[in-house]
Symmetry: C2
Subunit: 276 residues, 2 copies
């Protein structure tokens, strides 16, 4: 693992690291914020999964999360959104291929060999983080934005016991019924739609629920509401009697200005679960 | 109007008053908390509508709302849930007749002459309050519990501009699809179901929305979830892109212990709208 950069930040360190990934067969880069407490003892970890077109860098620089993570003594990890580089398939569209891994393991050509972001985020990166840094693997939580909100919710709902809490900003909430989902699932997973259902937060919520609290924020003026389909997730949460909150935030759009406005609430929400 | 009682409470006065009502053709009793500020100038008003079997007294004594209303300088009014007394029709069931007015104007016998709680709460009582007390009629908000949550939401959604904000605790959210609703609407309004739709919060939310913020709390262990149908309202709020929050509160039931736990949040929520 190679250190790309390390910067002092709110009394802790914001690092960027690159490593060879077995899951994707490529080099992968991630950002990791460690609060001051990590110098003394393992700290809880909040995963932040990013959206379409993002790298490890967008949330790290624009979400303003480190201040609140430092206040609560929580580490933050910012994975990339797909494998990248020479020999990795791509598409001219912004919403397929590099920058659009959708947090699943592709089975179809030309994506199958490298697009294994599920295994990377669910299996490989956790092992690397707990082996290399002062991270308490028993205290993890997860959040994300847009495609990353989809990733956060589907991972948390599929891995019971892994995350103490889950939240999302403007998640792609019902991808099996959206052009943000159907196109990518067909490409990555093939035509059998029954396989898609395991990557749909609204379906997983309806069928399984989450053993903990769930917080979802959605901008009421989001330009992508018709693609995100928040009503499906809101219905599923209430029908499941899922503890948590689904909030529509008046006037907010899909941007990082929306994320940065509500990230303090989300980190406080996760801190409550991580320090319970 | 006759003063039944007045008690000093959090620096203000908790009063109970009885008056002859034109709307119901009976005497009606209500509770009113006025904060200290009402001695000097008109104050904003938060309506609290109660649930099945309640009188004006339940929330007044059990919700613990006065402390927070006093902190924010807000008046609270607690209307009764139906007309009462000799000559007023009733039913042996707890969910029909006296204590179960459902905040509508009955058109069917034997309920029609007196069961006009919509007119009472929407028209007559506001006039009495603003004429007799230091209430600022331009700054009103509304909340309620169970049947009262239904009342709060249907009034707020039907009277645009009247209330700056609306919230509800475990509202009867979709009465046209519930045994808490179909029975009463058939009795009070008759068999034409198109007339029922104007008293269904989920339908009104889907069709009209609310010009302001909406806050709904629902206990995830509520014993009446199948009758309340929160999922219909959660879907309608998200589909409408309604600013606000729909929260499922883990472990809470339908009781006033639930209401009293979250009343501080609700009063703070309304205060933000009332003092904007």
């Amino acid at each position: 693992m190679r250190t790309v950069s390390e910067n002092r930040c709110f009394g802790g360190v914001q690092g960027v690291y690159t490593h060879a990934s077995e899951a994707t067969g490529t080099d992968m880069t991630f950002g990791l914020f460690l609060p001051a407490e990590a110098a003394d003892h393992p700290v809880p970890l909040l995963w932040y999964l990013s959206g379409l077109t993002c790298t490890h860098e967008n949330a790290m620089t624009k979400a303003g999360a480190q201040r609140y993570a430092a206040e609560h003594g929580i580490a933050l990890v910012f994975p990339d959104t797909s494998p990248r580089g020479e020999g990795v398939a791509d598409d001219a569209a912004y919403d397929l291929g590099q920058g659009a891994g959708f947090y699943l393991n592709a089975t179809e050509a030309p994506w199958a060999p490298h697009f294994r972001m599920w295994d990377y985020v669910a299996e490989e990166l956790p092992r690397i983080l707990t082996a290399s840094f002062e991270i308490d693997e028993d205290r993890q939580a997860i959040t994300g934005h847009s495609m990353g909100g989809h990733g956060a919710l589907t991972l948390a709902l599929s891995l019971p016991g892994r995350f103490r809490s889950v939240s999302a900003f403007a998640p792609i909430a019902n991808p099996v019924a959206s052009d943000w989902g159907r196109k990518q699932f067909a490409a990555y997973l093939g035509p059998d739609e029954t396989l898609w259902r395991g990557h749909d937060a609204s379906i997983l919520m309806a069928e399984r629920g989450f053993d903990g609290e769930v917080l979802v924020d959605q901008g009421a003026s989001d330009q992508f509401l018709d693609l995100l389909k928040p009503e499906a997730l809101a219905h599923a949460m209430a029908a499941r009697r899922q503890p948590g909150a689904f909030r529509l935030q008046q006037g907010y759009d899909h941007s990082y200005y929306f994320v940065s406005t509500f990230i303090p609430d989300h980190i406080a929400f996760h801190a409550e679960a991580l320090y319970r």
